[in-house]
Amino acid sequence: MQELIASLVSVAFHGTAYGMILYVISVGLSVTMGLMGFANLAHGVFAMAGGYLLTTAMDSWGVPFPLALVISFVLVALGSVVLERLLYARLYSAGELAQVLFTIGLIFIATAVARLIYGTLQQPVHLPEYMKGQFSLLGRDFPTYRVFIILFGAALVSALWFGVERTRFGAMVRAAVDNRAMAQSVGIDTQMLFMATFALGSGLAGLGGALGAEIIAIQPSYPFEHLIYFLIVVAVGGLGSLRGPFVAALVIGIADTACKYWVPEFGAFLIYVATILLLLWRPAGLFGRQA
């Protein structure tokens, strides 16, 4: 019994940390897909970029860890605006196939660029001393860094929700997700809104990639390898929603960890099966509006 509880606590803890990372990375994808109807498979590129920026900032520029996180967020957000204006914006009205292929192309490019600059090896993250080791709580040890991820993630989620619920920008985003034509007709500059949302979402992905570099290894095939998990979070959570992906990310993070812990012989099989069943039952996801 004692042991079962111990394992449950482990799984819940590590799963939550993983889920937080998944959420921070994927939430931007959910909003941009819901808002702009853009099938952006290249979202993982932003997360990877964040991870590389973190390690570069810390190792080459000598920036302390907290500041490196900020840098990851800001630079990725800025970079994404350039991409959005130059490329994405041309394809808002194009078909799904074109968007899919375009973003796969971006993945290829990002993978190659990452390899050219950083080589093929996984980037080691040299965490500051205060993030290493364990944190004791109720007689159990928890790795300090993952405790930090959970707390940081929770703070970020609260800020994000508060922002979208209470600010003018948030209200505009919600209006545009609900009904774009309507939002346009009441004078919301949707082009600016798209750009800002895209930047925020991509910046968050960069932050998530940086934060999660310990868990999801930063290496060039990152955007391909983890794409399916980001997409699952969005599809299961429901497009355009903030809460949906949060629930989905936590569930998937915990379920994935539980599978690795108890039934490693199944791998991610159960996650995929569950995803399919859920999408067949609710094609628009848990919190999406059903057609």
Partner: protein, 396 residues
């Protein structure tokens, strides 16, 4: 009409240019390794060793004989890619030897090709026991996982009772799991749990947590070396297994020499079985290291892949010398079967004429801090270790 003729000429030109084959006195070695993907460091270690050997031993070739290395990248554990490259090396480049190969699955996939084409194939890393049994043209200069994991199990059983096994989920992992288990259980130990982990880029934390929760005395692990060894060490450290009194044991892969500097203090006290450590106290090893540092800089560190490739090249050069540059596949194999080198950087080695697999010393090492640097210090030697899988199963 005109265009068709032009087309034919074009095709013919392309074909003839591409078909230019090796000149008589050039021995071509097709070398397959991993230069890209997450495991790219492995290919570099191997190729550096091969090139270093060629540079230092050019004078040991018969007069007029040249050796040409045709290197190909399989991008990681992609057996079909490996097989395709081997096929092209044989059919298009007409190589006299195939060499290299990091991954057991690739070596397995290549085996039928070298049998059909009668091309001697020198395995310079892949450690799955079964490989040498798949073709009479395969010779291995690296190691098998049974060679390391079985003595590790025997050694551990003398000191510990409860072991947890965590290995990568592919053939070498399965081999090392079986070998350790046999050694450990025969010696009176008990396996309290096991897990097979994904081969590439896993997050080791959940697996190590599971190991910790099983409360073993030791965790035995095999993972394909390189950066992953740092990752698993970090997970072991972050979860406080050492603090909880759990010992980390494994094959040498979990404490690859070149990654040791990145691991911090986590590997202190880890005990591993392996056939090579840069800390090995032998004149041949010292000379090898000196040459390596001279060529690639003081910071560059060779590892067991480098040594196996270095020795593999020595075997190939021996065969070339004894045949005076005219390579006959069957004669080559006959020569290689009796290849011996008492002065390899890893100690005395020989090819077992029965199995074409390597016989070498296995060292039980403990990771310690020596002069401020982490090092795998040899604490026990098991001389003339064979591939125990073949010994136990009567395979050749």
């Amino acid at each position: 009409m005109k265009s068709r003729t032009a087309f034919k000429i074009g095709l013919g030109l392309v074909a003839s240019v591409l078909a230019m084959s090796a000149t008589a006195q050039t021995v071509k070695i097709g070398f397959i390794s991993t230069y890209s993907g997450p495991m790219a460091s492995l290919g570099e270690e191997m190729e550096r060793a091969v090139k270093l050997y060629m540079k230092l031993n050019g004078d040991k070739l018969p007069a007029g004989v040249k050796v040409e290395l045709v290197a190909r990248d399989d991008g990681g554990p992609n057996p079909d890619k490996g097989k395709q490259l081997a096929q092209e090396l044989i059919v298009r480049d007409h190589v006299n030897f195939l060499a290299g190969v990091v991954w057991t699955p690739s070596a397995i996939a290549i085996a039928p090709l070298v049998t059909e084409a009668k091309v001697p194939f020198i395995v310079m890393n892949a450690g799955g026991s079964v490989i040498t049994t798949l073709s009479p043209y395969i010779v291995r200069t690296s190691f098998t996982l049974w060679q390391a994991a079985y003595p590790m199990g025997q050694w551990a059983a003398k000191k510990y009772k409860r072991a947890y096994i965590a290995v990568s989920d592919f053939a070498p992992g399965h081999d090392s799991e079986a070998a350790f288990e046999k050694g450990f259980v025969t010696g009176g130990g008990e396996i309290v749990g096991r897990v097979r982990m994904p081969v590439s880029n896993p997050d080791f934390i959940p697996f190590m947590q599971r190991a910790k929760d099983a409360k073993p005395d030791i965790v035995f692990s095999f993972i394909p070396g390189g950066v992953q060894s740092t990752q698993i060490m970090k997970a072991f450290g972050d979860l406080g297994l050492a603090k909880a009194g759990v010992k980390f044991v494994g094959t040498g892969d979990i404490v690859s020499d070149e990654e040791l500097p990145n691991m911090g203090d986590a590997p202190l006290g880890a005990v591993t079985a392996h056939h090579y450590s840069t800390a090995g106290d032998r004149p041949a090893n010292k000379a090898f290291l000196a040459a390596w540092h001279k060529e690639y800089g003081a910071k560059a560190t060779p590892n067991f892949l480098s040594v196996a490739s270095y020795d593999g090249m020595d075997a190939i050069y021996t065969a070339i010398r004894e045949q005076n540059g005219k390579i006959d596949p069957d004669q080559t194999i006959a020569i290689l079967k009796n290849y011996k080198n008492p002065n390899s950087p890893r100690g005395p080695i020989a090819i077992d004429p029965e199995t074409r697999d390597i016989i070498q010393n296995e060292y039980i090492r403990e990771t310690r801090r020596v002069n401020g640097e982490m090092a795998n210090v040899e604490i026990e030697t098991i001389p003339d270790a064979k591939d125990y899988w073949k010994v136990f199963n009567g395979k050749k």
